[in-house]
Symmetry: C2
Subunit: 197 residues, 2 copies
Amino acid sequence: MSRKNRTDVVAAARIMFAEQGFHGTSMRDLGKKLGLMGSSLYSHVVSKDELLVDVVREASSHFQALADEVATMSGTANERLSRLVHGHLQILVEDPHQARTFLNETRFLPEPERDKAVTMFDRYQQVFRDVLSSGCASGEFRSDLNVHLAANLVLSLLNGTQRWFNADGALNVDSLALEIHFLLTLGLNPDPEVNAA
Amino acid sequence: MSRKNRTDVVAAARIMFAEQGFHGTSMRDLGKKLGLMGSSLYSHVVSKDELLVDVVREASSHFQALADEVATMSGTANERLSRLVHGHLQILVEDPHQARTFLNETRFLPEPERDKAVTMFDRYQQVFRDVLSSGCASGEFRSDLNVHLAANLVLSLLNGTQRWFNADGALNVDSLALEIHFLLTLGLNPDPEVNAA
DNA sequence: CCTACCGATCGGTAGG
DNA sequence: CCTACCGATCGGTAGG
């Protein structure tokens, strides 16, 4: 094993914060995972909080990039929603530990970092609302849709997959994204025409 | 303030475990919330773990009761799904701290308690699969539905509401349950007939 | 239910 | 990056 740098420490933090939680992980735990003494980590990092800040920020940047992409994307509301669903799942799957830490441990960030993360995620959620709104206006979605509520529900569905989706399983991300988009737009019920046949 | 009993201690634990996490809550924190010394709690409880066991078990019993009810319930798959959605949300809303602790802190239970909770919840999820399956067989739901996946998605959606739903807000549980059931069965898209008109 | 205390562990620092 | 260490806090006990 070679000499460790800050990247290695953050990588260990991503994994352990996701699995044991921020408060369930000690600096000595992180050190052990890297084959170091806990105190040695302080040559790479100034505090334990800083590690959580790093992990949350890198997750935030991924969501922000997706928000920017979809905000400036052309296409129907259905296409843009499909991209949001797929992009969001990609972020969760690409680094599940980072995503779990973001979703579960952001609340333990010291201010003002916590507030910044919350504000960022709300701007991200605004893109979901915009896409849903435009779909209502275009007639792609029900015109009586409660857009704010629907955005919350879509994000709840997406974030919840993090608890059970396994990238090594039989189901891959693309198929999951398709299934979710299909469920969201058409629901569980069969096509009325097929049903009537 | 009168003398405290075990029920009071568990009540404090529900709230603090939900807000600060199990590892982020000390026995002294719980004591302070009750106006006691941390050490005094040990006359009501034998360990900190035991408090988490209690909170998780009471949440489990609510889910189990709903599972039993729906498993023996007559009616269409749509009606039974509707009851599951409504019942699940009721449990989350009735005691949000208990629900949050169950959803986020169960993983920190010592074995074999953790395993028992996981097994219980899987049996609960089986009722969702059964209802979805019967709906596929009856023609209420798409016959090509991936039942296992769909059950995961429905539960993800329901559990995710815990992060943002506020019982004191403009939206009440009954309306939320209706909206979710509507989204699940019919989706975001408008009625095809209406769309064609 | 409190006081007084236990050994272990916490985040973090000094000095090399 | 380690050794040695700091004061604070942890879960928990004894004795009243």
